[in-house]
Structure formats: C-alpha cells, structure tokens
Symmetry: C2
Subunit: 780 residues, 2 copies
C-alpha cells in the first residue's frame, strides 16, 4: 500500500493543484476503517448531512452471521476487496447501524443489477478495488473500480454528494441506483421507495426504511452532468400492486407506463445509460432531504449549482481546514496523523438535519420550520457526553448551541417529553441508558454557551430526569437506586443517573436555583446505594434491598445488572464524587490497588462473549468501550497521578495507532477520538459539568488550541519521548502547578501549560493536591 | 325489513327530536348497496373528506374470488349479514376500489382481535346484524351489533367521523382499532402503520397503503369521550424490527416499551378498554388528514370541539338539506326516494381533501398550502364528465370552481403535466381513457363558472391534449386515430379524444381563440377515421390503415380495441357530431334502425364475460356502464324523439328502483345518479360543452330547481303515468317548444318547462327540429 502521507501530498499537488499547507493534510480517513473502529473513508464536510462513502459489502441480517454485519456498521471495511457502490448516509464509528441510503454504482460494459457476492465479485455489479488505487482526504474519496476501469471520485457539501466517474474504457457508460441496498439490511427493510425521471438530467427518489430508526424518510434529488440517453426501471418487488379489476391491462395496472417515468415499490432499481462517456467524466449530484423531494432539489441547487467537481472538493477541504487549523500540533507524523484524524472524526456528528429553507423532520414525524437555529440529529449520547460534547465546546460553541436547541425541540416534539437518548433521523431508538443529554446541556451552560431557550432547557431537564415512564426513574427516586428486579442494567443505570443528576445540580446551582440544585446533588449520591461494602463492588440489588446472589465481578451479561460492562469496570463509575468512592473502597491505597487490579487482572473472553462492544482490553480495562474511558485518570484522585501517566501511555502505545485498525474499538461517533485528543494534550474531563480536567500525561510535544474567544491555549511537553512518559513538573503561564487538574478557566484564559517530562515518575507531583474535589461534597 | 320511509320518520322524530320537513327525509342510503351499485350506507356530509361507514366484509385479494371482492367495492354489501367494523374512507359506486381506512369495532365481552369469517362470525370480532335494526339517513347511520348487544351510531362532519356506542350489557367495553383492515385488501397492502396513545383520551395514528393509489398517506387523530382505563397494542407483524446487536434486550429492541405508548409496523391493532360503559354511550371522534397527525388533531378540534352527537348529526343533516332542498320534486314515494337519493349520491365526490389550515397533499406527494381555494380529490372522470359534473354546475357552481382549481393544481403538480385522469388521494391511477378533465373545465367555463386560474386552465388543457407521452396522443395526431397496434382500446380512445377535442374547441372558440378552436374542431372529426364504412361500425385500425381482421361487433375483450364495451355500443360514441355519425351510418332511418338493433339484439354473456362492469343490459345497451349513457337520447337526432321517450321509460322501468339493488350497475361516483336526475327531469347533456340538452321524457310529475342565480326552473309533466310515457307537446314559459332540445340558457333563465304526456307517441313533435346540431358542423 502506498503511504497515505505520500498520497496526501500527491493529491494536494496533483489534484487540488496547489500546495496544501492546511492541517487537513494529516487527516487519514482510513484510520478506524479496519478492526472494529467502524469509521468510513468517504467524503463529508464537518457535521454534514451527507456522508458519501463506498460500501464494501452489505451482508443481509438474518442470512449472514452477525460478526460479518457488525464489522460493516459504516458500510466499508478495510479488509474487504470489493466495492458494492457509493451511498450517501453513514454513521461514523457506531456499534449498531442503519442508513446507507441511495447506493449508486457506475458501470461499464454489461450491466448486472444485483450486487453479487464478495467471494465471487463477477456474480454481480460490485467491483474489485485495491487500496493501492484508493485515495481519501478530508472531503474527498477516490478509487479505481478495477472491474469497470472506472475512476470514481466523491466529494460533498453539507447536503449534496457529488460523484465524478471517469470511464477509462470510453464508449457507453451506466449508473445503477439500487434502492434496495442498505447498511444492516434485511428482508423487508425497505418499506417503500420510488425513483422518477423528471427530465433528461434529473431524477427524484424516495425511500422509507424500517431499521434502527423505524419508518425513516429520505428524499433525494439527483442530477447528471449530461443527458441520459436511455434508462431502465427495475422492479423486483413480487408484491407490487396489480389492478385485479383490469386483468392484464398493464398500462393501467402498473405505474411504469409510458407517461409515468417512475417505478415504486419495495425493490426498485434504476439504470441510467449514457451513449458516450469518453470525452469527459460523468458527474452526478445527489442532494438529500428528510422533508420532501422539492426540498432535496432546492438543497441541490442552493449548494452546488455548478459542475466544477474540484471547486466542491476544495470547498469541502477548506471547511475542514477552518476547523483543523484551529489546532496546531507538533509531533511525529504518526502523532499528527492520529491527532488530526481524531479531530476529523470528532467533527462529523451530531450532523445537520435540516434543509436550506429551514425545514426539518422532528421526532414527532412532523415537518417543522427550524427558523433561527440549525437543526442537528444523531445523538449517541451514552458515548459522546463523556468527552466529545465537552470537546465541541472549544471547537465550535455556536454549533453547540444549535445542537442543544435541537435537543430541546426534540424534547418538545417527543411524545414522551424526553430529551434524546440515542436518536437520529427523527427517531428515538431508546438505545443505551441514562439521560445524558442533561450532561451536555449543563456542561455547555456552565461554560457560558447559552444561545438556546434557557427556560425550555430547565423544563426539559427536569421533565427528563423525572419522567414517570422512562426506564425506572420512579423507582430510582423511590429506592435511591434502580432495583434489579425492575429493570436489567440496573446498576449501570443507577450510577449514570447519579452522575447526570450531578450535572443537573451544577447547572441549577449556577443558575441560582439552590433548592433544585440541592435536590439533584442529593440524587447524585445514589451511587452509594448500589455499592456492596462486603464485596467492595457496585452490585445488583433488588427492591427488597437484597444483593444479587449471582454476582461475578468479571461477568458482563446481557440483561444483567451492567450495561456492556462488568462490576470490575462499572464500580469506578462515580465521576461526580471520586473522593466518596475512594472512601467507600477503603482509602487511597486500597483504591489504587483496585485500579491496578482492573488493569492487571486478565479478563477471559468467556466473561464478555455476549458483548462485541467490549474491546481494546488491558486486563479488565476495555478502552474500546465507553464505561472505561475515565478510569485511567482516577489514580489522580488517590494522589497517584504518576500511575495515570503510566496507564495513559500504556493505552496509547497498545491501543492506538495511525493504521486503519488504529482504533481499539468503535469510535462511537467521535467519543474515542475525543478521548484521544484530550489525552494527547494531557488532560481529560472526568466529570463533564465539573469544569475541571484531570491531568494525565501529554502524548504530543506541543498542541495549540485557537479558542473561539480569540485566545490561545498551548500545551508543551518538554522532553517527551518513548522513555519520558512521566510528568516531572508542570507550569501554567510560568507558574508552578502542583495540582493534578486544570480548570475550564485555565484553558479559556489562554496561555501555556508546560509539562516537563522524564523517564521516572515524580511521585510527589500532584500528590498533595489531589484532583479537585467536585462541588458535590459541600452538599453532602 | 322495516320500510325505510317509516324509519326515516321514526328517526327524524325520535332521534332528531323534531319533525323534519327537509327533502333529506327521502334519502335512502341503502339504495345502491345491493346488486352492483357499490354505494355505502354510512355517514357523510356533502363532498366530505370522511365517509364513515360499516364494512360488512373485507375478502382478501389473492385469496378470495374476484366477484366477492368486486361486490364490496364500497366496503358494505346489502346481502351480508355481519359487520366487521366501521371505517372512515369509502368510494361511492366505483368499479374498482381501495380505502377503508381505520376500521374501528366496539366490543363487549371477550375481545377477539381478528375479524373471523362471514360464515363463522364467532370466529372473530365481527358481529351479526340485521337490516331490521339498521337505520341510515343523510349524515347518520345506526345499527344494532347483535353479538355484542351494542348500538353503534355514526355521524360526520367534513373531516371528522363521530361514533356513538351504546353498550347495552353495561360493564366493561372495548374499542378495537384494526389497522390491517382495508377495502380491496391483500397481503402487504399496509406499507406502514402506527398508533400512539398520547394521553388517556387521545390516540394518533398513521397508515400508508399500497393499493389502487400507491403509498397513500393517511393520518388520524382519535378522541374518546371518557378516559381509557387499560389498553393493549397488538403487533402481528412478523417482520418487525429487532435490534440484532442487543439480543433479547426487548426494552431497546422494540418500540413498545414502557415509555413509548406506541406500536408501529405492518400489522398493528390496538384495543382501548373502558371499565364502565354503563351509564352513558361511549363516543369516539376520528379526524383525518392526508398531511400530518397534528393537522388531523387540528381538524378534530376545529370541526367537533364538543361531545354532542346529535348536534353533529343535525349539522350533517342540515348540510344535506341545504342541497336537497334546492330541488323540489313532486311524485310518488318511490320517485322521490330515487330522485333525492340520486342527488345524495351525486353530491359525495369529488370530495374535500384539505385540512382546516389549508394544507393538502398534492399529486407530487408534497404538502401544499391551498390558500384561496378548497382542494378536492377523487376524479373518476371517464364516468363523471358525462352528466355528474354538468349537474354540479347547477347545484353548486362555487364548488365547481374549487374542483377545477384542484384539477389545475393537479396538472401543475403532476410530473407528467397532465390534468387528472382517474385520481384520488394525491395519486393518479391512470385508470380508464381519454382526457375528460378538459370536458369538465370547458363545460363549466362555457356556463360562466370561471373562478379559477383561466390562463392556467388554457395551458393545462393544451398540454394535456398534446401530452407527448400519455397513451397515444402523438399517434392520434399523426394518424388521425390511435392505431390498434400502438395501444389497446384504440377505438374507444380515438372516439373519446375526439369528443374531448370538441369540448376544448368550444371553450377556445368562446374565448376568442379562433385558430386554436379550429384546430380542435378539426381533431374532433377524428371519429370518422375509425368508422369502417364496410361493416358500418367503429372498428380497430392499425397504423397501416388496415381494419381489425378479428372484428366482432358484440365482443368486449380486454386489451381489445374497445374500453369496457363493444362496437355495438361504441359506434354511437360521437356526441359532438351526431349528425355526422348519422350520415356515416346511412341517414336517419338507418341510424334509427341501428339504435333499435342495439336495444333489441340480445347480448350473450360469453361476449362480455371479461368485463364485470358491463351490466344493466337491454339487448346490447348496457345501462350499468357509462359508454351507453347518452345513447337512448340519440333517436332525437334522427327525428325520432318518441323512441327516445320509449327507451328512457324502458330503462327507468327495468333498471332503476328505490330498492337496495335499485341501481343497474356501479353508481360510478354519482354518474349513474346524475343520469337519473337529468333523465327524470326529461333532458340530458349528450355532449357537455355543447350547452344543449336532448329532451327525453320526464319521469317525475314536477321538479323545481332553485338555481344559484336566484331563479327557478321547473319541469312539469302533465298527465304523466305508467301509460302516459310519450310527449304530446312541450311549452317553455308558455311558448310552444317544437325542438327536442333545451339550451343552458333556457334553464338558467328560469321558468317552466311543461310537458304534456300521453299514451301514444306524437311522432310529429320534435321531428322537424332535430336536436341542435353542434357547433362543430360549421367548422367542417
């Protein structure tokens, strides 16, 4: 494989036609496309509605084994050797999936209309490809489709994907639209679809799918750079409607008659053919809308009114540059590639879900006017409240306000009067646990990001945290914990509710709502109610107060008391009161030992085999899944920051690289990437809403953040090397910093955080000043 | 069976609580529910969006034999003895079907959730009923559900159906919603559906079906008069989505969790249960919208904000009275019952298809604001252009303008740039032939009804009549006829295009567009090109000019040259130039003989067995289908009006009654009824757009039309009796009328048309003055 860095240079010189000094040159969209990173390599702009990317296989659920399906959550997997086509919607890094809307495949020669199999690519329209002839950069993807001798290139604006197909064989060319193709596809996933030719260069299409989101609506407007010379509708739907009163009268009995240039049903394909594709590349623009065909067409004309592919590509790249150039990283090639690619992955979602005219589809299924704010979708909140959303507050506070306003209208429009849990494309999937939207709002509010409806925010937070029908909130309030006989995952739910309540309390306290704040600070102590002093672990407990008799701290079991985790991991989930947890666990030394046990005790696959998400293991620590993400930082709280430094390096060395399989598990819509970015700078938001960051160990010699307030905050790691992983001392703007935490103000005031690194731990640094005790303690 | 007239009195006194002097008392909604009339007996207001009516069976297509299905185009058939439930959308009198949205069934005792079979009613939730305990009037329907001892009553406003269920057993009561039930149902007809409980008295629901209309959208808002005490969602959909990544985690894997009071999928039912239905009837209001759930809710609250069932019933009845009392009929009970019921059936469609906020769904599938006009759907134009639309110009010219504006926006919104053909609920079904919307527009325009976009009307007419892809318009223009090797039904299509072109010519002539008018007058002569002088019949002809070698004038064959008819019938389809046709057929005597042959030559079933629509036979004359409707009037044009008089009486005597099976064939959305109304008054619009009416023979002693211009037009048939069926003489406002036709002005000027009837034909009356030669001739 040709080195991607070389490629980046090649592309920037040969294709963009100018030297590209932007940090976008370090982005390698292939990082995370191997292993179980579940990222995609295609073209996207920051927070774009379109994610135009190759799908390398679409194994059918119910037919193919689950690992084959799981592997292709993002449509593409680096191991694959064939490309089925290019589709316009993808999740980045999820552990469950959907989307893959409107798959398009350029074809030369004989037209096959089924994808065929990866084992026998000639059996279908898919094409072989090689990573040697595959290129990706921020906002661009290109590949040689070997079976067709076609170079396919993709770029995108926010709502429009643009394809450029160079048919090297010349002569006749075809473009296949397969409306049956989908990610996590299964029989009957397509509820309805249609495609219509409205003139010689324009198609309109529609698809409703029943997947992770139910009855998800997507409309498409499609334009070609040259007129279609001939075309073919393919309707493979056995159930298509026939008029029984007019036997055999095909003209009237199917919609595909001479007047109606349309096909509709559950298994529709369309082939556009062009007599001559020899002289210049064939281009296709595809705009999305969740509202209507006419909105899709409006989006198309508003965003890409021309046929200059390179202009779109440059614009996409500049949009990325405008974000990535806000951060200057000094370090090795690998460090830069990892850092900027992490940042690239962190800025993909929540994604825009609104048409240029302001309309969007709400979670109530209705069309709304989103005047006055940008509407976003895709809230994988159980993952992203931890570090991704806190990170975005630095990168783009305006967009954070839009995201929060979007969550608030979701609350208003939801029939259950709930902030989003795991929501996308106008649907709440109710996946995962907690009500972590409150953490995102509180964190942003406390950081001064307040350009959304504040009264509505308070209402939404209170109603969400007290919703009488969601999971087991009434029981949580009644018992102080979620009884395991009421709901599975009861311990995890209790612990995460308690953290969320802390975030609420912090926000209400800052708003001067002391009584309310007190109430939520009290709820935030609920974690104590599931701590079993005898075993020393968080443990399932029933409504009679009895501890789970089936307890095994290593076991992660579906429908057990923990969510994608075991008691070894979840017992550390008290980010809001680590001091209190240390006390419960017997003090600093015992706590430190428990952390070491976590990292050092092997975990047999047998204990976690029910969870494909528990990955990236160091002992029982699972870096590939979110419940572990804060844990390495907890040594700080026991006065052992050098152990945090050691663990962070251990994680970085063993579980992160700039290779396609460089992510230790699902990127989870940017959360894993956000962990990387914070950790590389040397600090991490253990408890968002606390406005404090535990200092870990910098992994990058120098990082400068250009903050939205015009200031700059720089981290410098003097002497950082493979050996020098330990902090010897720290200064902030020249002043010695003994405490092992940073505050939000420290960062926002700008200046330089200077770490001096060495190969031996300085066990005294940060010891006297434990990580900041959260505000919680004063209410206890 | 209790006499319906008695019932009408009973109801008006006992239920409406006052003597009802309105002509609505003569409406018997059961007329047409037997035989193949295909009308429904349920509750509807004039042109209402809701048609709330019992469905007596819903045999599945693909499982049940076609006659069983055809019989129940309107959901209800008078022969049936069980009621499956009450649904909110129905066609009146069609020969193909769809709809039956949101079936509701009140249940006492054990709840069954499948309909069961008519043969074994106890096998399902359906109930036995008897016509003895069944009542219907304009805007009201009631029935005793014997299996449940429930009296179910229905009434409606334009967009809301109201149910009243009296549970005579008291105790617990249930209401079942079966979202799988549909008219012309078949497996997979339901594309998607959902139902959601949003509070203790309110449900919202949605259904998309793929039937005659594809992917038809309907939203529902439902309110109960008392809180639901318990409820049950039933999801019988095997294909419902399960999260494969979260095996067994039902909470997250199906949408029916504690928080989400909703079920969604392709086979959804819902049971609302009420602990105590003893003290007062349970009432249910169901509002429709084709746009959204919130619009449905808005419609509900706007139209029926209260729980006074009788108030709604009275309002519905008054709306009917406001129309029916515009016409005073003197005659026998049977004549009145037939006349007013025909008028009732004539005023059901085109039906409103717009929400109270003005929004409607267009044929492009998009939501539009219908500000400034009322939007209508349901254009069965091949049927209704003949007499129904002309009739509406007298009854409600304002609404006619709304209907035309609706057809014009259909044209604008259609991707094919076509006026409607056979369109309903935002879908063009492309059923039947011709472009008869132009006839409706021209007829209205020529009558001075012009409150719509006139420029758009001209554009729409020209583009429709010259559409390059619809059927065989280019070939029609090229050859002067549609070659049979180009398209089936080529002769019928040629003949009907030619008539439509006449209507266009008349309108353009009136607009002063002489050149255009000339063009269309010329096209209107195209009928001559399919007249075979050798056989003397209209006959298929190929693009080489060769006549159909397989010709049999009696044969009606699918995919043959005629549409639901044979050459015997269709050879008379030149309403625009009967004089020219007479010449082709060899003069008055030969033509008269040909007409007699039509009526007197038996037609073997074998010749028409492929067409269930060809019904109501007198020889080869098929009163039950539209191509025959004008034919009895053609004797006039040959100077033999007495023969027209004879035939009209023959038709009335043998093919019309006030019994449930009183219609000789499908009412076809009011066309059959409109034929009755005109014919009963003694005249008929042979060629709409001609502004002339052939005089037939009055069948009712006296009819007074209260015209929209404030004038009255009265027909009086002096001496009319069983024997006295022949016109002896006619006076118009006291002046002798020798001509056997009326003009539009004759009617609109008001006054009295006085027929003197006798038992012998006066062969001299009207002989000298043949029915008015159409304007066409002067352009020949």
């Amino acid at each position: 494989m040709i080195s991607v860095a070389t490629l980046a240079t090649m592309i920037s010189v040969s294709s963009l036609g100018e030297a590209n000094a932007s940090n976008t040159q370090w982005v390698d969209p292939f990082i995370g496309t191997g292993g179980d990173g579940h990222t995609f390599p295609g073209a996207v702009v920051p927070f774009g509605m379109v994610q135009l990317s190759p799908d390398t296989d679409n194994p059918m659920r119910g037919v193919s084994p689950q690992p084959e399906i799981y592997k292709r959550c993002a449509g593409y997997h680096y191991d694959d050797t064939t490309i089925v086509g290019f589709s316009h919607t993808h999740f980045s890094g999820t552990g469950h999936s959907d989307l893959g809307d409107l798959l398009i495949m350029p074809i030369s020669g004989k037209v096959k209309t089924n994808p065929g199999t990866a084992k026998d690519p000639d059996s279908g329209y898919r094409s072989r490809f090689s990573h040697d002839q595959e290129w990706a950069e921020a906002g661009y993807y290109g590949v040689e489709l070997q079976d067709y001798n076609i170079k396919a290139e993709l770029t995108a604006s926010a709502r429009v994907g643009m394809h450029q197909y160079t048919f090297k064989n010349g002569g006749e060319g075809h473009v296949l639209f397969d409306l049956t193709s989908a990610i996590y596809n299964f029989e009957n996933k397509v509820i309805w679809s249609d495609i219509r030719k409205i003139n010689d260069t324009t198609l309109l299409a529609y698809r409703a799918t029943n997947g992770w989101a139910r009855n998800r609506q997507m409309y498409f407007a499609i334009e070609f750079s040259q007129p279609i010379d001939s075309y073919r509708f393919i309707n493979e739907d056995n159930m298509r409607y026939r008029c029984m009163g007019c036997l055999g009268k095909e003209k009237h009995s199917t919609i595909e008659n001479k007047a109606v240039k349309m096909s509709a049903g559950k298994a529709i394909k369309f082939v556009a053919s062009f007599d001559n594709v020899e002289n210049k590349p064939l281009q296709v623009k595809v705009a999305l809308s969740a509202v209507s065909r006419s909105n899709a067409l409006e989006n198309l004309h508003a965003e890409i009114p021309h046929w200059d592919f390179n202009k779109v590509r440059k614009a996409a790249n500049s949009q990325w540059a405008s974000y990535l150039d806000k951060v200057d990283v000094e370090g090795t090639r690998s460090e830069k590639r990892q850092f900027y690619t992490a940042l690239y992955h962190a800025l993909q979602a929540p994604s825009l879900y609104q048409d240029v005219n302001g309309q969007y589809r709400g979670v109530d299924g209705e069309i709304h006017d989103g005047k006055g704010f940008e509407h976003y979708t895709l809230y994988s909140l159980w993952d992203t409240y931890r570090a991704l959303h806190p990170l975005l507050t630095y990168i783009d506070p305006d967009r954070v306000s839009g995201m929060i306003q979007s969550m608030l209208v979701h609350y208003q429009q939801s029939y259950e009067k709930m902030l989003p849990i795991w929501s996308f494309h106008a649907h709440e999937t109710w996946t995962m646990i907690g009500y972590h939207a409150v953490s995102v709002i509180a964190d942003a509010y406390l950081k001064g990001i307040r350009d959304y409806d504040l009264d509505l925010a308070v209402e939404a937070i209170i109603n969400t945290a007290n919703n009488p029908v969601y999971d087991a909130i009434p029981e949580y309030k009644q018992f102080g914990y979620v009884p395991m006989d009421v709901l599975p995952e009861s311990v995890s739910i209790t612990l995460e509710y308690a953290y969320d309540d802390f975030a609420i309390a912090r926000m209400f306290e800052a708003m001067g709502k002391s009584e309310l704040a007190k109430q939520y600070y009290a709820r935030a102590m609920s974690y104590k109610n599931v701590f079993d002093p005898q075993s020393g672990f968080m443990r399932g407990r029933d409504s009679q107060g009895r501890w789970d008799p089936d307890f095994n701290p290593f076991k992660a079991k579906y429908m057990g008391p923990f969510t994608e985790g075991n008691a070894m991991q979840y017992s550390f989930y008290v980010p809001q009161d680590v001091a209190g947890l240390i006390t419960l666990m017997g003090g600093d030394e015992a706590f430190t030992q428990r952390l070491d046990d976590l990292f050092d005790t092997p975990l047999s696959h047998d204990m976690i085999k029910e969870h494909e998400d528990i990955a990236g293991l160091i002992g029982n620590y699972a870096h590939g899944n979110e419940p572990s993400h804060h844990i390495a930082y907890l040594y700080n709280y026991a006065g052992k920051p050098w152990k945090t430094q050691q663990r962070i390096r251990q994680i970085m060395d063993t579980l992160s690289s700039d290779k396609p399989d460089g992510l230790a598990g699902n990127d989870d819509v940017g959360q894993m990437s956000a962990w990387y970015i914070f950790s590389a700078m040397g600090f991490y938001p253990v408890a968002p809403g606390d406005l404090a960051y535990a200092i870990g160990a910098p992994q990058t010699p120098k990082v400068t953040l250009k903050l939205a307030n015009g200031k700059q905050f720089t981290t410098t790691a003097v002497g950082l090397s493979d050996a020098n992983k330990y902090i010897q001392s720290v200064t902030l703007n020249g002043k010695v910093l003994e405490r092992s935490y940073l505050t939000h103000d420290d960062i926002m005031s700008g200046g330089e955080l200077r770490y001096v690194m060495g190969d031996k731990p300085n066990k005294n640094w940060g010891k006297a000043f434990k990580a900041r005790p959260p505000a919680l303690s004063k209410y206890q």
